[in-house]
């Protein structure tokens, strides 16, 4: 192929809040077509990492390079969708917004696109919910609807932040099947997860994070007892009096 497949390179990336790092000096590559789990203890910087990729959080240091892909082509499902569930809109309309790249701010939904929305809703098992208000969905149904929207986004890179939190096993396994379908379509999928058995069973690659990178690579090589133990040790508490990092350069946000 003439151009590289989309991938993401972390070059000495530090991400954090109020100068305290949540992800510290990360060097890693998210290779194209991998199904990567991001694993680590609470506070290890997993969600922060995804926010850095999607650009809502700017690195305190280093660079996150998106190769062969624009930021708005990456699909992202945040942990607790910032969704206003009381907003008066139907499930169909919410899901249809996954077609944004095709319809933009102005174009109407053609017949063909309407069919695609119905297909996506069928794929997540929400047929019949089209005219329900989003506020009437249960947590699991909402997650299904959000996955339908992701389906329509048709993105080469998909970021999922704890997609199976607080949903039943049936829904989780349905959604996992979708994730594996994406993997089969050679999309790059990155998911923050807590269920280590699930990671071992289904994910090709793992990035083990404990603020510092503990290990990254094929899941079997990363998920060793030794690495997991080190991850737990590394994740010390947020230190109010922390000194300036010896590896830090610069100090201004405005560049």
């Amino acid at each position: 192929m003439a151009f590289t497949k989309p991938h993401i390179v972390f070059d000495n990336v530090t991400l954090g809040y109020e100068r305290h790092p949540a992800v510290h000096h990360l060097d890693a590559v998210l290779a194209p077509g991998t199904l990567t789990a991001v694993v680590g203890p609470n506070g290890a910087g997993k969600s922060t990492l995804l926010k850095g990729i999607i650009g809502t959080l700017r690195p305190l240091e280093g660079r996150i390079a998106l190769k062969g892909i624009a930021r708005d082509q990456i699909a992202y499902l945040p942990q607790q969708a910032e969704m206003d569930r009381s907003f008066p809109v139907s499930v169909f309309d919410m899901v249809a917004m996954g077609l944004w790249r095709h319809i933009g701010p102005f174009r109407g939904l053609s017949r063909q696109y309407e069919d695609r929305v119905h297909e996506a809703m069928a794929a997540v098992g929400l047929t019949g919910f089209e005219h329900r208000a989003v506020g009437s969905l249960s947590g699991g149904q909402m997650q299904r609807a959000l996955f339908a929207r992701l389906l329509l986004q048709d993105a080469p890179i998909i970021l999922l932040d704890e997609p199976f939190n607080a949903i039943d096993t049936r829904t989780a396994s349905d959604l996992l099947a979708l994730i594996k379908r994406w993997h089969g379509e050679e999309r790059t999928v990155v998911a923050v997860l807590h269920d280590l058995d699930q990671v071992r069973e289904h994910f090709t690659d793992t990035l083990l994070l404990a603020r510092e990178l503990v290990a990254a690579g094929p899941t079997a090589e990363v998920m060793t007892a030794d690495n997991l133990f080190r991850a737990r040790q590394l994740c010390e508490a947020f230190d109010e009096q922390a000194a300036i990092c010896a590896r830090a350069t610069g100090g201004w946000r405005l560049r």
Binding site: I54, T56, D72, I74, A75, Y76, P78, A81, E82, M83, D84, F87, P88, V89, S90, D93, M94, M97, W100, R101, G104, P105, F106, A133, V134, R149, Q153
Partner: protein
């Protein structure tokens, strides 16, 4: 009966002008109010309305009761406070409600101070509560113009605005229209508040935006129906309020807003969606 409804508008020019002005507000400002409500910015609207006062007052100071000067002053002041409070919210620890409250309290005090150093109490009342029965041609053109611009802009921005309310993180991830939509919307809100202030005054202008929107929320399940219902309620309140003020010799601005308040109260009690009635008397439950 018909004569009672139409008579005052047929007989008196000032009633017709008042009606035209209020209809322009109902069509333009009320949809903006719906979005203010859905974005949980009802109080932001109130704060911006107060913030308009010192701008209008400086315009008044420079040029007397001149429509142009007070309008331009009001728009500048309203936008300044909206942008500054947004900036303070993003760059400091203060939440939006607190920073808005701080800005609008200062501007309200400043505005009252400026008007009263130069003008009479009558002028102050004019600015605070409007003069819907004394709208001149220029004011009507301004209000109709603002309504036209607003409807056009809302039509263009409709999808980004809805998405910004529904799921802002998602809109930001697929498109850069997010901040454009936000600032365009703030501008529309200020424009409509300034238009509304000529008729209803800075303190009441928000009423015709928020009350019909809040009342309509109890009747509609989807955003489009919500907009239509809100505009209808605003139109009804304008007509009924003007007639009440005519027959019972009441001040018109408060009469209109109170009528809208009555619609709100009724909707709150018997509305179809999530009203008190639905809460306390939901009916017998269904099979599935």
């Amino acid at each position: 009966m018909l004569d009672g409804l139409f008579g005052p508008f047929i007989e008196f020019g000032f009633m017709r002008r008042a009606l035209v002005g209020c209809l322009a507000l109902s069509v333009g400002a009320t949809p903006v109010g719906v979005f203010l409500m859905l974005r949980r910015m009802s109080l932001t609207g109130d704060a911006m309305a107060h913030a308009i006062l010192p701008g209008a007052a400086i315009g008044y100071l420079v040029a007397g009761l001149s429509l142009g000067a007070m309008t331009v002053g009001g728009i500048i002041a309203g936008l300044t406070v909206a942008l500054l409070s947004g900036f303070v919210t993003r760059a400091t620890i203060l939440r939006e409600d607190a920073s808005l409250a701080a800005f609008y309290l200062v501007s309200l005090a400043l505005g009252v101070l400026i008007v009263s150093t130069r003008g009479s109490n009558v002028d102050l009342l004019h600015v605070l509560f409007g003069t819907v029965l004394a709208l001149d041609n220029a004011a009507l053109y301004l209000m109709a113009g603002i309504a036209t611009v607003t409807l056009g802009a809302l039509a263009l921005l409709f999808r980004p605005l809805v998405m910004e309310c529904l799921d802002p993180a998602f809109l930001r991830s697929v498109s850069r229209t997010s901040s454009l939509a936000h600032y365009a919307f703030l501008t529309l809100a200020v424009l409509n508040l300034v238009g509304g202030f000529h008729a209803l005054g800075t303190l009441m202008a928000v009423g015709i935006m928020i009350l019909p929107a809040a009342a309509a929320r109890f009747w509609a399940r989807e955003i489009f129906g919500l907009l239509v219902a809100a505009v209808l309620i605003a139109v009804l309140s304008s007509v009924a309020g003007l007639l009440l003020s005519y027959y019972y010799n009441l001040p018109s601005g408060p009469a209109i807003i109170l009528t809208a308040g009555i619609f709100y109260g009724l909707s709150l009690i018997v509305g179809r969606e999530g009203s008190l009635l639905a809460h306390y008397w939901p009916g017998r439950h269904l099979e599935a």
